[in-house]
Amino acid sequence: MTEFVSPEIMAGMIPSGIKLGLVPDGSGSCPGMVRLLIDQGIRDLHVVCAPIGGMQVDMLIGAGAVAVLETSAVSLGEAGGAPCFGRAVRNGDIRLLDATCPAVFAGLTAAEKGVPFMPIRGIIGSDVLANRTDWKVTTNPFDDSEKIVVVSAIQPDITLIHAPEADRFGNVRLGRLREVMLLAHASKKTFVTVERLSETSLLEDEKLAAAVLPAMYVSAVAEFKNAAWPTGLYAEYEVDDREVQDYAQAARTPEGFQAYMTGTRSAA
């Protein structure tokens, strides 16, 4: 049921206007694919960062592809603030849904479990809550004296991740990054680029199985070596600090961002 396609064909399967799930840099981020999406002129995305965004999200914002951004933070890590994000916020170019990490996970858990909402402690009294119309304060049904927040389910149309390995059946090894598993469960479709394909089933090895996203969640797989560059891939390769710093420097102006995007090789 999983389709095996080229990165270019996969990019073509991701239309404008969808709710797109993305993971933090280094945890399955896929700037290689993001650049293909930008090249094809993708627009009007509602990006869900699970739970925070990095360089790949900043690039999408810089390219004008993001209409709504749902995130607990956007940062380039050691390289500092995300320049296109900061600019877009200042200029009011994106609609912000500021969140807090566990509330994003709670919303994804609601979608995973097929319930319309999840309760979550904390948050009350923050301006994060004050600015979220899709979160509410209710009463604990088992204790009238407790006020508690409920967040609504978050179901991305498509989640896009990069992973070390998929097998020929569409099963994908995620390792211990189970938050990526949660995001895939919560999403209608998940598209995965991988460093390499395994000819044997990843589910056959009992020691490995708990680290594997089953094919039933995986709509398409594309082999795309180094697609996480320069953001790195957990337990595979490190972030390219120098490259991210170069980006951070260049993207301080819209012109610099454009020059970086046209002048710099992508992972492909």
């Binding site: 933070a73 956007v74 916020v89 969140a99 807090t100 904390g122 301006d127 990054l177 189970r178």
Partner: protein, 248 residues
């Protein structure tokens, strides 16, 4: 070995004191000073046969025992398995509110920081949250934050078993009094006076004539920091470790 305690060493030592008694402390990936403080407490406890201190460094492979994804930290905190955590913030105000989002309006903030991360949650659930921000200025320590990422105190009817425990900066150490929702100056670091602190702080606080100097590590502790702790730190924070004085 004979050189004086540096400001960074004082902060690390102070963090270790603030963590006294905790069993499990979590720190962010880019937080070498809190990690160093936790490592120091762990080493001191081991030396004095006190209880183990578990340190989870988020994002680290070696110093992170979580196996259920990034949500496990938050679940663990809710289960009461995490005793201490650190928060910074672009602004911290006199009521203990922290702002990690931005200054100058919202949503179109003139200055935008990354975002609230887990603060709006962990501040309620981790018993001992240590506010740690090296810069001590009226720009950071404000009377009222522009955006409340996480509030310092909560009203009746809101589940809250955690919150601000202390505020540590380059210049001073405050405790937080949750009953009145105000900071109290506990000690001033060598080289500063209470008067300095008043001028450098944008909010009013109790005990503002405090004359206590922040205690510095003794020679044995300083030696431990410059030897074992520096080596342990180097595994995860090589650049930071290299910036600290060594035992030579």
């Amino acid at each position: 070995m004979t050189s004086e305690c540096t400001n960074r060493e004082l902060l690390i030592y102070t963090i270790s004191r603030l963590l006294t008694g905790v069993r499990h402390v979590a720190v962010g990936m880019s937080s070498p000073m809190p990690a160093a403080g936790a490592m120091l407490l762990r080493a001191l406890n081991k030396k004095h046969s006190k209880e183990d201190v578990q340190l989870s460094i988020l994002g680290s492979i070696a110093h992170n025992a979580f196996t259920s994804g990034a949500e496990e930290l938050f679940d663990c905190a809710a289960q009461g398995r995490i005793d201490a955590f650190f928060l910074g913030g672009g602004q911290i105000d006199g009521k203990g509110n922290v702002n990690l989002v931005g200054a100058g309006g919202y949503p179109n903030s003139k200055v935008r920081w990354p975002g609230s991360y887990g603060s709006a949650y962990l501040y309620f659930l981790v018993p001992r949250v240590i506010l740690f921000r090296e810069e001590h200025s009226p720009r950071v320590l404000v009377d009222q934050v522009d955006f409340i990422s996480a509030p310092g105190v909560s009203e009746e009817g809101v589940y809250r078993r955690g919150g601000p425990h202390a505020l540590l900066t380059n210049a001073a150490l405050f405790s937080f009094q949750s009953d009145v929702g105000r900071f109290r100056l506990e000690s001033v670091h060598r080289g500063h006076s209470a008067r300095d602190i008043q001028e450098m702080t944008g909010f009013s606080f109790d005990n503002d004539h405090c004359e206590v100097e922040t205690p510095e590590p003794d020679a044995a502790t300083l030696a431990l920091m410059r030897g074992q702790i520096r080596t342990e730190l180097a595994e995860t924070y090589p650049l930071f470790a290299a910036s600290l004085p060594d035992a030579a």
